[in-house]
């Protein structure tokens, strides 16, 4: 192989390597004994660090215009395509950062429990599927990894093996498999009528030609795709599995809500709107308006339901239902600023929500506190964890300088650009509701009177749990403060939105 060949083959294999970096250790971990803690942790952590390093190396190259791509024939007429471009790096970057932190957290969290090889094996496979989703270069590849994610998360949700966990996991599986059916039908429809659909910023040419010939079928395909993706994205009325899936171990909930399942669904919606149909075509077909309406309903509905939960994790779950639809909202409002706001919320919500789930896991595991009312006075015993929780909660409400503010500002600006000031009403209403369900928890933490029998002394969580929590809280603030700098999530999102809305 000559040097020139290598320089061509080297970068093009990078997306594949990214997938393998989580896939191979995940597979190896299954064969490790339960007691080989060190080896397992070393494998996990080195893979996570390697992945983070690869993403960091890729970002500048891709921003400069490189599009490393790897493809191999998969089925007749269809290739398996992995390609790195800005949107895939935004999502892969998020998952790389959070995977590393969640792995550290999970090692600390599961220390005392059994079935750890199984857990970490599926955990890595789940991340491999997420990476595959982010680098997928066409619809079929996306579908393959999207379904793989379903398969690998099921054992994680069922992990505790209790009757409740197994029931919730079954419900989860049926929701997601049904979504997968719809997605499969949509992808097959588009692929067999329009040809293999490669993602293209601004919309795939094949789909544009197909929609000109038969707009009706194109709308049907869009409906099938979004219905399929909407299940994982917890779009109303397909969100029923999400609160139930809260029985999973805390690191799983954190990952499910912040990067893996919910985000994969909404990332798919972004792909379909931006890179399959293209915003112009989607608007011309009249499919953006219903999507926007659905997103608005979900944003408000999720918040209202969150308000009614006393169980902390369930409250967070409904909050996710609401917050993730901000992304869809931004995509569907048809303005460049709004799209950037939606995309950046993909990252910001991930950082803030994972912080909240890490905290909820610490409260439940160390103090046995699982409800909002039970948080009273906890701030005195765990000031650092409580501070992290506060950062996440304030960010969710949208207070500066936390990242959530940047997302909402951007979305609001997009609503004005799109000439839809009524969307500001939705954003404000949601912010009020967010405040209504997050502030009581924060107040209870700091100002509530602890139960009489609660011990007074400080007892912060062990470092393995605390450090990831504080890191994500700091990142949430940093993403907000540094939003104007190059390579910040906002900067990347604006770059992506710029490619989707040319001119």
């Amino acid at each position: 192989m000559s040097a020139a060949d290598f320089s061509l083959a080297g970068p093009s294999a990078v997306p594949l390597v990214m997938v393998l970096v989580s896939l191979v250790p995940g597979t190896l971990i299954f064969f490790l004994g339960e007691d080989q803690v060190r080896l397992r942790s070393a494998l996990n952590l080195s893979a996570a660090v390697a992945k983070l390093g690869l993403v960091a190396l890729l970002v500048p190259a891709v921003v400069d215009g490189a599009r490393p791509e790897w493809r191999a024939p998969l089925y007749p007429g269809v290739d398996l395509v992995l390609r790195a471009e800005p949107l895939s790096l935004l999502f892969a970057g998020l998952s790389a950062v959070l995977w590393l932190l969640t792995t550290v957290y999970a090692i600390g969290y599961l220390e005392r429990y059994s079935h750890r090889s199984r857990f970490f094996g599926f955990f890595s496979l789940c991340v491999a599927a997420t990476v595959g989703i982010s680098f997928s270069g066409n619809l079929v590849t996306f579908l393959v990894f999207f379904e793989l994610l379903t398969v690998t998360t099921y054992p994680l949700v069922a992990h505790w093996g209790t009757a409740e966990a197994v029931r919730a996991a079954r419900l989860y599986l049926f929701y997601t498999l049904s979504g997968g059916m719809s997605l499969l039908a949509g992808v097959a429809l588009l692929t067999s009528r329009a040809g293999s659909v490669d993602f293209e910023a601004g919309g795939a040419g094949a789909v544009r030609r197909f929609a000109e010939e038969s707009p009706g079928t194109a709308v049907v395909a869009f409906g099938l795709l979004v219905a399929g993706l909407g299940v994982k994205a917890a779009l109303f009325p397909l969100h029923g599995w999400l609160p139930r899936a809260m029985v999973a171990p805390a690191p799983v909930s954190a990952l499910l809500h912040a990067v893996a399942v919910v985000k994969a669904g909404v990332f798919g919606i972004v792909r379909v709107v931006h890179d399959v149909y293209g915003v112009e075509l989607a608007r011309a077909l009249g499919v953006l308006a219903p999507l926007l309406a659905l997103a608005c309903v979900t944003v408000v509905y999720g918040s209202v339901l969150a308000l009614r939960q006393d169980d902390l994790k369930r409250r967070l779950a409904y909050s996710t239902v609401s917050q993730v639809s901000y992304v869809t909202l931004g995509i569907a409002m048809f303005s460049e600023a709004g799209a950037a706001g939606g995309l950046v919320h993909l990252v910001h919500q991930g950082l803030m929500k994972i912080t909240l789930f890490f905290c909820a896991g610490i409260f439940a595991e160390l103090l046995g506190v699982k409800t909002v009312s039970g948080l009273a006075g906890v701030g005195r015993r765990m000031p650092l964890t409580a501070a992290a929780f506060t950062v996440g909660a304030l960010g969710m409400i949208g207070l500066p300088p936390v990242a959530g503010f940047v997302s909402k500002w951007q979305l609001g600006q997009g609503a004005l650009d799109a000439g839809r000031p009524e969307l500001l009403g939705v954003l404000l209403l949601s912010a009020l509701l967010n405040a209504a369900y997050f502030l009581p928890a924060v107040c209870a933490l700091w100002f509530g009177d602890p139960a009489d029998d609660a011990p007074e002394h400080r007892e912060e969580a062990p470092a393995a749990l605390l450090v990831p929590t504080l890191t994500t809280a700091l990142l949430s603030v940093a993403a907000g403060v540094a939003a104007g700098l190059p390579y910040s999530p906002l900067w990347m999102s604006q770059l992506i939105a710029d490619g989707v809305y040319p001119g």
Binding site: Y75, P76, F145, F174, L184, A185, A188
Partner: protein, 491 residues
């Protein structure tokens, strides 16, 4: 080997010789001899399949006598596909059977009967004329009945019923073969097909006969009732072979008769597709209702066989569109292979659980302390293939069938693989849930004396991993399946 056509004889005569050898050897020699014999037979079949994949169909006249007098052996892509499946799954099951006496019904007659089935299967796949096809299928059927009967007292009833079905099917097939001979004047597959096509013979009734004969043997709904008791009560290794391989032979003969000899019948094709769809639905519902693991797996075979019958309406609706035809054949090939491996694995897993815990009742298994992780993992991986989830061959097959349906404008057929996946997930999740749950009250510890050997614990997992990985192998399978494709229906 310089002359690959000699392999055509070897893949049949090899296992046939092993029938004799294992029939006379003392019992303690059987497992090692069986293993060595299986390795040789598999190697020959795989070399042959690879050769066909590389350089196209091969033919051979046994003992130098050409048609119409001699025995003609031929192997095209479809033969190669089934030969390779039989070789690999057969080898896996043999390893398992050699490691666990209980898996063979604890009976030395397992070995000659199993090699008779293997010889018969290979003979079906390389037969160049209809009479040999008939004889080979008869050998497979009778030996399979014998294998079921190894299950002891409770298996004798189902075995007898299986015998009736097998004999009835064979008789009907023989009548159809006689009709073809009367009309075409030859039994050589390709020649008979050409003559029938040029004579303009109305082959409709012969086709109905063939469909009923082979539908019985392939357990196509509503002719399926014999299968679950027979496959469910047989010893472990036998169940695996029957479900993974033996029913496929009947499907293979149906495909041969349909595309090569009689020519497609559009109306009958739709009937076959509808029966297949009904099988997916009804087999799935019945599987869901079972309380014993082996019965769940057996009913799942009824359901999974249903997908294969979509080949007939999809090819007939294709109207010669090469892409649709390729997808229909490729999808069917992927499902045949995927189901073969996954089903063998699942039956072996069920057998391991049964031999370790002494039961395959789902409610009893729920009370067992520490399930065997490799076995549960194997069940899970096999379930991924059977439910048609990526990256497995099950998904590859499902995808191609859906594309073939949409591409030919026959939307309705797409609902079968799409909806069937959810139903499969439902009935496979039931046993998996039992194994994933922490043991309930009154948990029983794993009996020390009956712990399973390494090979018994890992053979099912290895078998299950094959279709999972093969799903990513690209278009190799569709290419092989359509090498030297059928005169009228191929791409």
């Amino acid at each position: 080997m310089n002359d690959p056509s000699a392999l055509l004889g070897l893949v049949v005569l090899g296992p046939l010789a092993l029938v004799l050898v294992t029939g006379v050897l003392p019992e303690r020699w059987l497992p090692p001899v069986g293993l060595a014999g299986a390795a040789g037979t598999s190697a020959a079949a795989l070399v042959l399949a690879a050769h066909v994949g590389r350089s196209g169909p091969v033919g051979h006249d046994l003992a130098g006598w050409g048609p119409p007098l001699g025995i003609v052996l031929r192997a095209d892509g479809l033969s190669a596909l089934f030969l390779a499946l039989t070789a690999l799954v057969g080898a896996g099951v043999t390893v398992y059977a050699a490691s666990d006496r209980a898996a063979t019904g604890d009976h030395p007659r397992f070995w000659p009967l199993w090699f008779a089935v293997w010889a018969g299967l290979d003979a079906v796949y390389v037969a160049g004329d209809l009479f040999n096809t008939y004889v080979a299928l008869e050998v497979v059927g009778l030996a399979a009945v014998g294998l079921v009967a190894l299950g002891g007292g409770p298996a004798w009833g189902p075995a007898l019923r299986y015998l009736f079905v097998a004999v009835l099917g064979s008789t009907l097939l023989l009548v159809a073969v006689a009709l073809v001979y009367a009309q075409a004047g030859t039994l050589e597959l390709l020649a008979a097909g050409e003559r029938l096509a040029s004579s303009g013979w109305d082959s409709r009734w012969a086709a109905v006969l063939v469909v009923v004969a082979l539908g019985l043997k392939a357990a196509l709904v509503p002719m399926h009732a014999w299968l679950p008791p027979a496959h469910g009560s047989a010893p472990t290794a036998v169940s695996a072979v029957l479900s993974a391989l033996v029913v496929k032979a009947a499907f293979f003969v149906l495909v041969r008769m349909w595309f090569w000899v009689l020519g497609p019948e559009p109306v009958l094709a739709v009937v076959l597709g509808l029966l297949g769809a009904l099988a997916v639905l009804w087999g799935g519902v019945l599987a869901l209702a079972q309380r014993h693991l082996k019965q769940v797996v057996a009913y799942s075979t009824v359901a999974q066989m249903g997908y294969l019958f979509l080949l007939f309406p999809l090819t007939s609706a294709a109207a010669g569109d090469p892409e649709v035809l390729r997808a229909a054949w490729g999808g069917t090939a992927a499902l045949v292979v995927g189901h073969g491996f996954a089903k063998a694995s699942l039956f072996l897993s069920a057998g391991t659980l049964k031999s370790v815990y002494g039961t395959d009742s789902l409610s009893e298994l729920a009370r067992v302390v520490r399930p065997l992780p490799s076995v549960v993992m194997g069940m899970g991986v096999a379930a991924v293939t059977l439910a048609g989830l990526p990256p497995s061959l099950g998904f590859a097959g499902k995808w191609q069938l859906v594309v073939a349906s949409v591409g030919s404008g026959q939307w309705g057929w797409a609902a079968v693989p799409i909806g069937g996946g959810l139903l499969s997930a439902a009935y496979l999740l039931k046993p998996l849930t039992v194994m994933l749950r922490e043991p309930q009250d009154r948990a029983r510890p794993l009996p020390e004396s009956r712990s399973a050997s390494l090979r018994v614990r890992y053979a099912p997992l290895l078998l299950a991993l094959v279709p999972l990985v093969l799903g990513l192998a690209g278009p190799a399978l569709p290419d092989l399946a359509t090498t030297g494709g059928p005169p009228g229906g191929g791409p």
